[in-house]
Amino acid sequence: MATNQPLRIGNAQGFWGDAPGAPARLVAQDPDMDCLTLDYLAEVSMSILAKQRDRDPSTGYARDFIGVVESLAPVWKSGRKLQLVTNAGGLNPRGCATACAQMLRDAGCHGIRIGIVGGDDVLQILRERPGLFPHLETGAPLSTVADSLVTANAYLGASPLVDAIRSGADILITGRVADPSLTVAPCIAHFNWPANDWPRIAGATIAGHLIECGTQVTGGISTSWMDLNASNIGYPIVEVFADGSCVVTKPAGTGGKVTEQTVKEQLLYEIGDPAHYLSPDATVSFLTLRVTDEGNDRVRVRGATGGPPPSKYKLSATYRAGFRASGLLTVFGRNAVAKARRCGELVLERLRLDGCEPRRSNVECLGAGDVAAGLFPAAGRDLIETVLRITVADSRREVVERFTREMTPLITNGPQGITGYGEGRPVVHEVFGYWPTLIDRNLVRAEVEIVEV
């Protein structure tokens, strides 16, 4: 392959819950795609997976991914070369790979190699040495929550993924890996960049950052969303070049847009100090980037600079933090907002009188500007309707349970025009706190395994 040929990397899953048909659609729309990335893990996803694994030890991964494998099986069966890189493995990459292999066998695909990357689970180390892991933002000691820890996973970098690709993996299933590393790894393997080629690795990190949230770079959640045709919105493809620059694009004939604006918006998504974007593969500066709109949904991003990554891995832990429930009712009529607020007060007062006052509570009148409560005081004036949302949280499940029974009586004892109770009582959910911290790289040992279907 000529060296000026880019590596084409798509993303068709920006989070767990993204469109299930997107991966097969994107692969069909872009026959030249070399690599498809699927991102399933958000910060608190691990705690949901932990609950599943408690019930059945063979689970603990994003099971939706197995359906995606089924939808892609005809692609591999046809002999097309398509690399798949995903963090769907969650807490159990090996279990995920086993289910994936079974699905491929059932579909009649053979000779496919699945790479498994694990070793990110460091829960045992946190339990044994809590003193090493203060909260990254507040500095609080881990001992305050150590007894309620549920998961702890280090964000691995591209290196073990590169090893797996070099061992011939067609499908790569990982646990917790930094999101951009899903894109950086195939680039390093393809272009044979040295591990310390920081500017190129920084460029690939930018490319990964741009596509990791799927349609967020092709017009989704754009300020100008109303000006684009979002039906059949295209998922992103990034063409990464040997020099680490890239072009963000999407398949022809799909909805959405890739413009200077959509790319700049996504560059700024969830970043901190733009001079030091920290990933396990490089420390990246956004301050040297040049973004050029070349038209026809093609935007070039070049000029990334970078240096060595931090000496520690970022780590996310989750811990049990009590219970919560949230109930919705609609109030229609004159002075709707005042009526709804009174309803909220009444429910909390009832709980207080019965000795079941929740430790935390929040009353919101949706429609009255309460999504950004206090910023737009005039927004609730003259509303004919509002949605009342009451949310409570407490370490005692029974207190939250009690709240769910005190909300529905508003249907007969509340104001005229209260309605919309078809969903029944609110549901009690467990709350998982999020504990970001750092861990020495030498305490983490990435594991790579290859299985053949």
Binding site: E43, L268, E270, A321, R324, L366
Partner: protein, 117 residues
């Protein structure tokens, strides 16, 4: 002087970072960016978001993108599944900041506004 909304001269994107959030504000034009760099200070953004208790707001400049990145370290009231707010992930903060009132000179507005499409 004319009173406008920030959204007439800039676009935005917000998202969560644990219990905090970032809000990126991107000017439509180079002149608009020079203006925002001078006037849209961290203190001004902090004051605007005060009812949501944002914490000590930090501002970073990305002149190459005509952008400012604001970190609001405490604005999500715990964030994730801990926050009791409907916008626990800070998704709406970009839309909120674009409603911020801004005063510009009458003759400046044309240089700051998005080219009409």
């Amino acid at each position: 002087m004319t009173k406008i909304r920030l959204g007439q001269i800039a676009y935005a994107r917000s998202g969560d970072k644990g219990g905090g959030a970032n809000v990126g504000v991107i000017a439509y034009t180079a002149a608009g960016f020079s203006f925002l760099r001078k006037t849209l200070t961290a203190r001004k953004v902090e004051a605007f978001f005060q009812p949501l208790r944002p914490g000590n707001v930090i501002r970073y400049e990305l002149a190459n993108l005509w952008a400012l990145n604001f970190i609001l370290p405490a604005i999500l009231d715990g964030g994730g599944s801990v926050s009791l707010r409907i916008d626990a992930q800070g998704k709406a903060l970009g839309q909120a900041i674009l409603e911020m009132p801004v005063e510009v000179m009458d003759d400046e507005l044309a240089d700051f506004a998005a080219a009409s499409t």
